[in-house]
Symmetry: D2
Subunit: 358 residues, 4 copies
């Protein structure tokens, strides 16, 4: 006989569940042994049964008979949720975060609204004044591998963006260890179409995205702001990188390829050794970071549907560069499952609860 | 606090784990609370770590440190497995089934070797003499919605084929109720490329299957033999149907569209009522059959990765036909997860154990 | 030295060029030796260079410097076009067809507006009163393999729908020859996503259509109206068929699988012979119908980008059915290139002019 | 009346026509007004009709009745071909090139055998001794935008690789003009699956490549050898670059994203101006290079099926980098159509003959 653990029951709300991140979040909460889904909101679908809008969830007892609520703070409060996920567009999320936090409800925000410490950077990258700058000080950037202690006690977690997660996890340990020259970093990322959201936009139609490979958004994609903020913290000096995202015909997945050079004085031989040590040390206790090692080429197909990020690297001795490669599910470790990882930490659950999917 | 159940620990073997069904089976057993995976064989990968061949399974404690064994009966026996899944090609499976059954090990065979009662039909459709006809009498056709009692006590379960499952579940209740004319049935099925197996065949290359829609295998696909066998049992008379499978550019999923006519004397109005009643009665206790009802169009994207089959139908009053439509995962309800459903029944576990994925 | 032919120069307009059929039509006219593209309209893109909206056409001298006009009859008249293609939605096309025809401009309409002889059938299937019933008498259903003489002299050609073309070409000769029982026909068609048009509809997003197989539109898809009209003409009696279209993750292509039974008194042996003879006779002079013969399985990948339709068939002796299979490009033989085939006939050009792409 | 040109008739052979490049080459020659296809070889398909193996070519009078020959030099000679395309694997091509050149037949080789001037570099990158080093001196690297004069008179053209074309065309003018620091170049390229060839390899199956994004081949992909050779010629000094190719789920297309820095002393402002001028000057007479300009993001879907390469760029002022992006068809400008472009030059035809497809 194998004895299973017992779990608390956490009254949980999902605000804005009709997009792609919201759907994956719902799927994870349905399978999460501690999540009691008490409120699911959607302006568009208010009043309709959840399993009518998401036929995939038919038969899930946790949402059976549950209807979408209108997206209001009252709906969350009256459902007695103690924790709310926000899967809302930038700008809209802050409107909910403020009153929810004020009511003592813990908030995990999947939007960009609380990821940046400096409201001026937000304004620069997002094109409008920050909607709730007074909350920025208490918001925790929800990268569990780097801020688990702060996340555990946070009232407001700003869950990282999809591209940032795929770039930060390989680079942060190396910048912190001063192995890599912060001025040398150039990143090419490739994302599946779900990353663009569930928008009625002809540019995202199947017949447009299929059989198409294209860059977009360079040189100043919005995600650069949080990537550089976190890299700068790690390097303890301002870091600027080049970043080119690409849109590709897969539903889910992000692969990032990162070119960088060793810091002055670090030889390629030393780099080879230390990259290995530094990454292994950094993630020895991180259940969702899988190091493929030198010569390991991560493939998104091995991580889609999971909370894993796979990281490999090669040394380009001919040019003196280190090339890091990562693969994650943009809706998983890049969004919904990473948010659940924070949720686990915030509720003193094992970090892997409900997330060990393969 | 929600209390979780406790489960027995079943020493379980997977023979032939390197194909697509084998991989999904491994994924399900990794997440199955009662399965103790004691032996995983692969001729091709013998001696190699499972998570090296399947990078997706890195981090799964249940297979961590486990290597592929060579595909031998001894490997299974010496690992003390009490139940073995066979994910082997037709013809090869029987070679393992015989000695395993003789050793008292319960066998769930995903191949076609034991699906047909009549070895002459096997020879007709598979082109060679049946390799173990003496076992046919005890083999149970493992469609849990129709033979759960026999499966519970079976020593040898022949898990159904992917196309058959998608065609039988909609049709069996209607034929049994004599609502549908057995001579009127024509089926067009569409399958993802994983259905063709992991074979080094240029016809299955990405650049061949992508952007391609094509029929194949008509008019006498091998799966017809088991489809007609089971339809004939239900109708209590010999049934012959037309069946055209198509290969389509998705990885997984089968959609079947079934044209049929009411039995003589059954009006379209009566048919409309009775199809609904008969199907709902037939599957009221079946957790994995989701009836989408009249006007419901099942979509494989809502079932891929699960053990569900979704069934909808329309009445074509203009021509006097009933059109049934089903969607399933060819590797799930059409193969691996259906086999696990039998495994649950055989071990007196709740039928849904390890299978309520959404 | 190979001497090339000389061609007339036909001032040609394309009305509504921004959709998928319009784009393929533009591509064909750019390569057509007789087409002088004098006017290209688009409400949405009026005033913009054609090669800015369609980057694919950059470098095509025929459209270089040409801007989209607003979609007005005056634009067509003042450009002195003598022939206009209408690539407009149903209902809108008729608004243009009437004044253009009145001005003596020959019209090839890719919409459904003039395909049906009976305005009552139009109203039944399209849900609104026919916008220009007085033109129906003179409109010619533009299936060149069956109405070339009428097309040659037509003022108004109603180019057939994509599904209808794929179903009519295999069936018409057999119904005309009374080989096939008109009551026995059931069709399963599979179409690429471009068939749904370039609409800002979340159901058509890449992340929705990809990895999805699904039926839709049954039992009374709009295209049934023209399919049954033409089948009835051929059979000289009213024909009703069952038809289930499916939406699949390819950009372009339609595959149709047609189940039918021989007419009373026609044995399977005789059917085998006569299907072959009748189809070969019917299409011996048809350059774009490629008969793959008995046992030939057409694949859309061999016809996408061309004006060909490939047709194969099998005899299902076990059930007494004939199964016909066809493959075409839904935007090619199912729309734009078939319209150009009519254009060639209308201008006394070789039928294959500008269309022998492989 | 538009008068069409007359063309010579060039007896042309295709050696090794059964792969993906061979198939596109056949398609182009079928539509090429001067190509008389007298010999098509394939070891695998010798004796079979071409349009049986390539159903797409059914109805093409140029190959109607033509069978594959066995792949021998005699077959080419006895067919009186004066020009032969080699679409063979590396190493095998040289075996044919030598005797054909000796017989006075002009050769356009699509393999890598004659792309490198230095046999030692060939051995380093391809892992075996060069099979015909004595021919290297006369072989011309067939990049028509840079070597048209040499190609015109060449006896042996080594047509460039797919990745190299996509990287060289954007970079060569900038290196030649000394605008870009040769030590600063890092390239991320993305290729469709046809680039891996028509090989019976399970890693290339649809179910493996679909829904997968992955890097491979870094840091020393074979194509680096010719890329660096040509970049070094342009820069007049040895150039080494970092290069990471990725395999993506499209059939055809390559997108390359190139990071580089201005040469010492070149300001970002000056760079902005000069990149534009230098690229426009370099390609003002190049019909197949389409400059999308600053802020232009090329998309493979606009070039697949054509001989165009689209090039755009952005200036990353924040990091001081220039980012160039290109898109081409890996089987077109990256292989078969570029070879035909050389063929046109070699035969004093307009460079665009048979290649102005959109």
């Amino acid at each position: 006989m194998s004895a299973a653990s017992t779990f608390p029951s956490i009254p949980t709300a999902v605000i804005g569940a009709s997009g792609y991140s919201g759907e994956v979040l719902m799927r994870l909460l349905i399978g999460h042994p501690a999540a009691d889904v008490v409120c699911v909101t959607s302006r568009q679908h208010a009043g309709k049964p959840i399993d009518e809008i998401f036929p995939r969830f038919c038969g899930a007892s946790k949402v059976s008979g549950l209807n979408f609520s209108d997206a209001t703070v009252d709906a969350v409060v009256s459902a007695r949720a103690t924790c709310a996920f926000l899967a809302l567009p930038h700008g809209v999320a802050a409107e909910f975060a403020e009153p929810l936090v004020a009511q003592g409800i813990r908030v995990i925000d999947l939007s960009a609204d609380f990821r940046l410490r400096d409201p001026a950077v937000y304004e620069d990258f997002y094109g409008h004044v920050h909607p709730a700058p007074e909350l920025l000080a208490q918001a925790v950037y929800g990268l569990p591998e780097w801020r688990s202690a702060e996340i555990r006690s946070a009232q407001l977690v700003a869950s990282p963006g999809c591209y940032p997660t795929s770039i930060l996890l390989p680079l942060l340990p190396l910048l912190k260890a001063r192995l890599v020259d912060p001025e040398s970093i150039a990143v090419s990322s490739m994302s599946g179409a779900s990353g663009a959201g569930k928008k009625a936009d002809t540019a995202l139609l199947f017949a447009e995205v299929n059989e198409s490979l294209r860059a977009y958004g360079a040189p100043k994609h919005r995600h650069l702001s949080e990537i550089e903020q976190e890299l700068s913290f790690a390097a303890a000096l301002p870091v600027r990188i080049s970043f080119v995202p690409h849109l590709l015909p897969v539903t889910a997945g992000i692969a990032s390829t990162i070119f960088c050079e060793p810091s002055t004085g670090v030889s390629m031989d030393r780099l080879a050794d230390e990259v290995n040590h530094v990454l292994r040390d950094a993630y020895s206790q991180a259940p969702f970071v899988r190091l493929r090692g030198l010569g390991g080429f991560p493939d998104t197909k091995h991580v889609v549907g999971t909370n894993f990020i796979d990281i490999g690297w090669v040394l380009d001795n001919r040019t003196g560069r280190l090339i890091l490669m990562s693969a994650e599910d943009n809706l998983g470790k890049g969004a919904a499952s990473q948010a659940v990882q924070s949720y686990n930490l915030m509720h003193a659950l094992p970090e892997t609860t409900g997330l060990m999917n393969f």
